[in-house]
Symmetry: C2
Subunit: 300 residues, 2 copies
Amino acid sequence: MELFLDCLPCLLRQVLEAARMATDDEIIHERVMDEAVQMLFMHRSYDCAPKLCEAMHAIVKKRTGIEDPYAKIKDKDISEALRLEPLIRCFASRNDDMLLQALKVSATGNVMDSALYKDLDIEACLMAELEKPFAICDKDVFEKDIQKAKQILIIGDNAGEAVFDKVLLQYLSAQHEVIYAVRDAAIINDATVEDALKAGVAGYAMIVSTGCTAPGAVLEACSAEFQAIFDGADLVISKGQGNFEALSDTSRRVYFLLKAKCPKIANALDVEVDEYVFKKNSYEIKAPKGLAIGAKIPGK
Amino acid sequence: MELFLDCLPCLLRQVLEAARMATDDEIIHERVMDEAVQMLFMHRSYDCAPKLCEAMHAIVKKRTGIEDPYAKIKDKDISEALRLEPLIRCFASRNDDMLLQALKVSATGNVMDSALYKDLDIEACLMAELEKPFAICDKDVFEKDIQKAKQILIIGDNAGEAVFDKVLLQYLSAQHEVIYAVRDAAIINDATVEDALKAGVAGYAMIVSTGCTAPGAVLEACSAEFQAIFDGADLVISKGQGNFEALSDTSRRVYFLLKAKCPKIANALDVEVDEYVFKKNSYEIKAPKGLAIGAKIPGK
């Protein structure tokens, strides 16, 4: 997915937040912002938001010397999610449609996003969020696809969210081999292998790194090992906005599971901001370069 | 008040919004954002946010050829406020403390700010906002000050807000000469003379321009005529964040009436975001340059 002009102020705000998490030194905040603004000027060098985001947060890491400014926030998010786990599991088991409930729990975990909801009273909002239905839900198609599947790849998103994903991983792992992929290094509040382990994911899935350090699985930046897993998996579930931005144009079949938090993502998915989506992509065959799917060929 | 790093992403977001209001041409949006990012890089040339805001919106005006991108929004805000006027007046009259009610109505008018609340369901929120008490309210001191006052200057903020200000203007004009100052030209959704006339302010106060086109009355950029009014008025009420940012360090007595919408403003006023404030400044005598009020003089 292209980088939108809307991403520029949003990324700049996030970089300042990260710089302040890393240090109280205001001189360093100024330097980080100077470099970040300079990088915004070069935004056309980046073809999707996760790539620019990675580059901008590299400035924070370099100037503050802190490799993981969100470390404390991620730990807090994971602890909070683990504390809420009994409540989550209670919700997940209260309906006969266990898959639907597990998908909804996993999508709702996306609210555990400190980068966006830093002052959220999680416990107060959780039940209300869980009760919200999907605006788009391709669960029926997924249920057909899953019957033929052996290996399922889930590409995770935020650290706290990984706890919520366990319900879905548990459901899927009963009859399938499940792989849970995470970022290769700390980037905003996204889950790394360490975070996934803290969240307890290892009990339900094999944890792997995408090899990519952007906050979205940008395929060309992923490791050969991960690319092989991605190509070889019978089903792929991509979680969150960053992975959607990175994978929305992929030629393989992917189910996107997320809450649309920004207007541009919501528009691309044809839903409203704050709505939940479980959507199978329609790009079974990749379009020729420079020609969008469904585009009219000149002269035809 | 100084320009904060937090202002940079916020102003960039607002410039994109203004560019889109002015034209649908995405090439022009790109050009505007390129120049805006370039200007952000020079942010140290601007000592307060209203000045940088003015300069950034000048890019939108220049590149789109549209002098007032918010014209439609302002007209809508004024119409909405006029439609709500009976409700507002009903609220204002339902308590014996007419001054307090008038101040609260005027402060609540600050919610009519399309730049921040573009999707707000105004009617649904209005009553709830009106019911919120002030977090800081220097009404008692104001009541003493007003007894000695002849001429009162109110520096207006947003266009729709001017309708809400009429209740306060009516109250004050019963025993005082009231002047209502507005921006010299269109800048975001702030009121100009034309907007104040549409809002019906002329029935209660003399409308003047500050001579300044920034979204805050930056004194050195105001006309000599306005500066004389500002210096000569017995009481000054400054409305909204932009005027607070421009006037927070002034040496004369000013009452600030606003809703704190941004964390930095809230922090400066020692309140929470979204709280209402009616606060007399404490800077009766201006501090020497470079030395903050209350600062310890070295060696003393």
